[in-house]
């Protein structure tokens, strides 16, 4: 395990680069065909979700299948805040994060009494309870299958005190700035940068080290005199709040909340993103989000015509064969590609893309070393590598 904690200066430098990369996304994603606000917003929102999930799963190794529930709580809270108080997004986000945090504290307090597969099943059970209740008992709050929507007759107490209600359906704003298109993206992006910074500080803090210690050997940690549960619970609540924030942003960019966001397969999606990118690494989950959302966008829009065009460089018969082979994987069948990709990643590269990159890097490094350091006896302790395995 990496013991030297990077200084805050180094972190700030990384953050600077990160912010530039994120904020300039509309520019450098344009040539890739992904430079439009809808998709960019999705990148940022799911980025927040995955970064938060990584705080729990990546650091402590506790595999939660219930995080979609917090996403749903965040979304519903945000829409209710729009309906009751004001169309301003800040209170909506604040309430969402707090409520998601409370929900996470309750669920976490109970679920964290068990570990391993029992923890997974407990979180799964809670998420299913939320989901089922959203469809049945809680219909007054969630509006059941139709989903919660804004309407003109909403009270909106604060807004109506300030000004007369307009004729059309209002949309979420940040002090008058409408949260759609690029302004929506930049708002999400700024929050993503803040969220990433917090997660980076958690990773590099003594608290984060303790969480990693729990992951590698909880029993030993307990024998050292640490009560592990408060640490685990804090990690769970933090990641739940991240999910709540992501849910709120979903409602901000599109003021509508439906129960399908809480289904357990939605939790599976965030697990997938985190694993694909590289669990336990800082930037990995974001990579996973980017790749999955980008290819979802490209693949699901593809059809046989587009495929034929893509294979136009091949001879005709080969192109036809290729189209028949690949057409089940695009368009409607995008999830098939995703599932297959996921299986392959778990089998061959449990550390995700980050592990793959690391392997490639090591390949070059060891080659160089071999030529120069043949005579030198091997160094005694290998420099400890950061933890990679998923456990």
């Amino acid at each position: 395990m990496n013991i030297n904690i990077p200084s805050i200066k180094k972190d700030l430098f990384v953050m600077l680069i990160f912010s530039v990369v994120i904020l300039s996304m509309p520019m450098w994603l344009k040539p890739l065909g992904a430079g439009y606000p809808d998709l960019l917003q999705k990148f940022a929102i799911f980025g927040i979700f995955a970064v938060g999930y990584n705080v729990l799963f990546g650091l402590t190794g506790y595999l939660s299948f219930g995080h979609a529930a917090f996403l749903g709580v965040g979304s519903y809270t945000a829409v209710w805040s729009f309906k009751l108080l004001t169309m301003n997004v800040l209170p909506a986000i604040l309430f969402s994060v707090i409520l998601a945090g409370i929900a996470a504290a309750i669920i976490g307090f109970i679920s964290l009494r068990r570990s391993g597969i029992y923890f997974s099943i407990l979180t799964l059970a809670f998420a299913q309870m939320f989901y089922n209740m959203a469809y049945s008992v809680l219909t007054p709050i969630t509006n059941g299958e139709t989903g919660l929507q804004l309407s003109r007759s909403d009270p909106r107490i604060i807004d109506n005190m300030m000004a007369q209600a307009g004729a059309s359906l209002p949309s979420p704003t940040l002090f008058g700035l409408e949260m759609s298109g690029y302004s929506g993206f930049y708002f999400c992006a700024v929050l993503l940068i803040i969220a990433f910074f917090i997660s980076q500080r958690i990773f590099h803090s003594p608290f984060g080290m303790k969480l990693q210690a729990i992951k590698s050997n909880q029993t030993r940690m307990k024998y050292t005199g640490y009560n592990t549960r408060p640490y685990l619970l804090s990690a769970f609540v933090i990641s739940g709040m991240y999910a709540g924030l992501a849910g709120a942003l979903m409602a901000v960019t599109d003021p509508l909340a439906g129960a399908e966001r809480m289904q357990w397969t939605a939790s599976g999606e965030v697990v997938l993103m985190t694993i694909l990118g590289g669990v336990g690494t800082l930037i990995g989950p974001l990579l996973g989000v980017g790749i999955i959302k980008y290819f979802e966008n490209i693949f699901s829009a593809m059809n046989e015509q587009a495929l034929l065009a893509a294979y136009s460089f091949m001879p005709d018969w080969l192109a036809k064969v290729m189209v028949t082979i690949t057409s089940p994987f695009v368009g409607e069948g995008w999830h098939l590609t995703l599932g297959a990709l996921f299986v392959v990643i778990v089998i061959f590269l449990p550390g995700g893309i980050m592990e793959g990159l690391g392997k490639i890097k090591n390949l070059f490094k060891s080659k160089k070393k071999d030529t120069f350091t043949e005579q030198i006896p091997p160094k005694l302790p290998e420099k400890a590598e950061p933890q990679k395995e998923v456990s």
Binding site: G116, V271, L336, V346, I347
Partner: protein, 338 residues
């Protein structure tokens, strides 16, 4: 009284499905030690076996409709009906029960392929990784089915004779109002007999004895010179068959669609946990217990006291059991108790 009997019956047939799925799941967990999230997909594949079989039987040809004489009218007529007349019609009518014969070899093959191809490489990996890889596999299987059969539920009716209801009430002298669909009764009987068959297989045959010994202590059985891996592969196939058959017979109750596997997966895990991981009897008992609990919770009298309880009762029970008695109701001491 009538209402209570009816609820128990309602619970029993649902419980039969839960018990069968959970039996397969816990068989796999007990022998291979693998947490299989693709188990729901096996249930779904079973249900689609009956869809496929029905489609195969009703491959049809256009023939002239003789009842319309004004113009040339054509209608679709299954080959079976053309060849065998009324007998063919009966075969098509009985497609769901007959598809059991079709499903057994198919599910066995699917199970063996799954175990050999993917799951065996994950024996030594962590539970989390097993969950993840089988979850991915479940997505793949579900999407393949969606591509082949479309996204809509496909009705697979039960044979004509069983489509009515049985007047159970008058049978027991409880009043005419207690009626119950025949097919659900048959499902209950079917699941009980499959459960009995599995237990007989495990308890009365030498093969079953080795499997049980392997569940207890895999290493020692291996040291005795028995190829445990090979037997466990067959056990996985067996679990696939049991789950698949549960799906086949369930298809008239719930028209199969591609995501029914995911819906049942969570439930079956809950059942296994309540019964005790790796305990076969526990899985069966918990299956019926939860089925009955769920149907009681959906009674109007109870719903008016605690609204919405029918939707969450199973999960509540599971949470309670995991917290209070993690080894489950019938679990062996020391198995998965952390």
């Amino acid at each position: 009284m009538d209402a209570i009997l009816l609820q128990i019956l309602n619970g029993l047939d649902k419980g039969g499905a839960y018990a069968l799925i959970a039996l397969g799941l816990t068989l796999v967990f007990g022998t291979l030690g693998v947490v299989n999230f693709a188990h729901g997909a096996l249930f779904m594949l079973g249900a689609f076996c009956s869809v496929t079989f029905q489609k195969l039987l009703t491959i049809s040809k256009q023939v002239k409709d003789t009842s319309i004489t004004f113009f040339d009218a054509y209608k679709e007529m299954p080959y079976l009906e053309l060849w065998f007349g009324d007998f063919g019609k009966t075969i098509i009518d009985y497609s769901v029960p007959l598809s059991i014969l079709f499903a057994i070899p198919v599910m066995l093959l699917i199970g063996l392929a799954m175990e050999r191809g993917l799951i065996r490489h994950f024996y030594k990996r962590t539970h989390a990784e097993q969950i993840l890889v089988t979850f991915g596999l479940a997505i793949v299987l579900q999407e393949i089915v969606k591509l082949t059969f479309g996204a809509n539920p496909i009705p697979t009716p039960a044979p004509e004779i069983f489509s009515g209801t049985a007047a159970i009430g008058s049978l027991f002298g409880l009043g005419e109002s207690v009626v119950y669909p025949w097919w659900r009764l048959i499902y209950l009987g079917f699941s009980l007999s499959i459960i009995a068959a599995v237990f007989a297989f495990l308890n009365l045959t030498t093969f079953g004895m080795v499997v049980r010994a392997g569940m207890m202590d895999r290493e020692t059985v291996g040291l005795l010179g028995i190829n445990v891996e090979k037997r466990f592969t067959i056990v996985f196939g067996l679990a696939a068959i049991v789950t698949g058959l549960a799906g086949v017979m369930y298809s008239p109750i719930l028209p199969p669609d591609y995501h029914m596997g995911m819906d049942f997966l969570v439930l079956s895990f809950v059942v296994v946990v309540v019964g005790g991981m790796g305990s076969l009897g526990g899985a069966v008992a918990a299956g019926f217990l939860l089925g009955i609990l769920q149907s009681f919770a959906s009674m109007n009298e109870i719903k008016s006291i605690i609204p919405g309880i029918d939707q969450i009762i199973i999960y509540l029970v599971a949470v309670f059991i995991i917290l209070v008695r993690p080894r489950g109701l019938f679990g062996r001491e020391g198995v998965m108790e952390d």
